[in-house]
Assembly symmetry: C2
Homo-oligomer: 124 residues x 2
């Protein structure tokens, strides 16, 4: 395994591994309930903005720019903890949400379950 | 909002939304503990293989091919439930793991926390 891969897996240095588009995956979890609220992407700018403000920022692939979750709705996500995976290409943001996370008004974006090929609502 | 977007958010049809590379995000959660075990990507082939076998399959971006989690280690993930997000570009696979999920031997790939810019081990 390449030296840099070993450092990423075993070292103490935060060395986020971005893909060809400069992105990595971010999963938001509710600090109180541990429910997964949303999944998005972060680039270097979004990580820096999240660290400096304590509020979750992402990179919008559709708009091609930095996006603070809740910037228009007010439903910000206060970041309490950041977990990093083995190869440092995914983060978990453990957050305190100020309101519903999904733009539909649902607590979580994952408000449906796939059952026999059809989507059924789940309580979130 | 485009008609197809409305269908994706409110309809019962499973219409996975793949990115330019034909991928969507997949988060694996332990059905018993609700711990997040790993984050990966799925393409149409990986979703079909997961649905037909009941075992989690992903698309390896580095190897450019279908990958059954645990195909070499035996630490497969039995899929108990699939949750779908609002715009159908992310899935949660609620799984029963046959063993440690991370290739490092850790229960979860998220075995470190970012603290003051440095990675510290967490119990998983």
């Amino acid at each position: 395994m390449a030296e840099v891969s070993i450092q990423r897996e075993t070292g103490q240095a935060f060395m986020p591994k971005f893909d060809a588009n400069g992105l990595l995956s971010a999963v938001v979890v509710n600090v109180a309930t541990r429910e997964i609220l949303m999944v998005a992407f972060m680039d270097e700018e979004a990580i820096a903005a999240t660290q400096s403000t304590g509020l979750a920022h992402f990179h919008s692939r559709s708009r091609g720019k930095l996006w603070q979750k809740g910037e228009s709705s007010g439903n910000v996500l206060k970041v309490r903890e950041i977990l990093v995976d083995c190869d440092q290409d995914a983060l978990i943001l453990v957050c305190e949400p100020a309101g519903p996370t999904c733009h539909t008004g649902a607590t979580s974006c994952f408000y449906r379950r796939l059952e026999d090929g059809v989507l059924q609502p789940v309580k979130t």
